[in-house]
Symmetry: C2
């Protein structure tokens, strides 16, 4: 059975990558490690490590994405949580067998070029959960 | 300067502690470690460890709490994230000096009897952040 290894990141939806840093860096004391453009997800991401996990500030680069619509509707805030798993394909298959809906049939490409999928929030108690495997 | 040590937990607002376990335990494979009643916060909490962090399922035991109102308005979902800090009093004082509003002037008692405070979500990019010190 595939296993969750740790919280990989908590993703915070932001209106831009610059202005939130006055809180997360200057006031809370976290440090931005790098930023990355993720064309497959049409987002740009700022990574702020916290021990074995990260806070990711995510901003849509295209108005048509789910993230852009989320920001329009709900404003900035926690968007999703991401668990790192030991075997993504196995985890996806096991969840489907148990009747849990995923947002894609196949893994998608995440930041860093690794593979991920999302669980349908209606099957996860209202929480958008990303599953992520580091290759 | 006080420092963030790790993500202590991610708190998920739930309508009861039992039914969400069919997802978090049976489908996702996490295990409930214990449950706790936290009278000071008028919540009951189920703790599901994930490596150095936890998922906490939180349910209000009183309809007057902020958590009960949150559930009424938004339904179940991610309620807050909690960072463990090395020195809570120092962190609270530094944040106040930098103009960040806290939800209480003094530390409050959290699950486990440890001290915590919340940062005002309007000063934290729409995110409700708990700061927590393990004594």
């Amino acid at each position: 059975m595939a296993k969750i290894l740790k919280i990989n990141h908590i993703a915070i939806a932001v209106n831009d990558l610059e202005s939130p840093l006055s809180f997360w860096q200057d006031k809370l004391g976290l440090s931005i490690e790098h930023t990355e453009n993720v064309p497959s997800e049409k987002t740009e991401v700022a990574f702020l490590p916290v021990s074995e996990s990260e806070i990711e500030l995510i901003h849509p680069t295209d108005d048509s994405t789910g993230l852009a619509k989320y920001l329009d509707k709900k404003g900035p805030g926690i968007h999703h949580i991401c668990f790192e798993v030991d075997n993504l394909i196995e985890m996806m298959s096991e969840l489907k067998e148990k009747g849990v809906r995923l947002l894609s049939d196949e893994p998608r490409i995440a930041a860093g070029g690794n593979q991920m999928c999302f669980i349908h929030p209606k099957d996860a108690g209202g929480v958008l959960i990303e599953l992520y495997e580091v290759k």
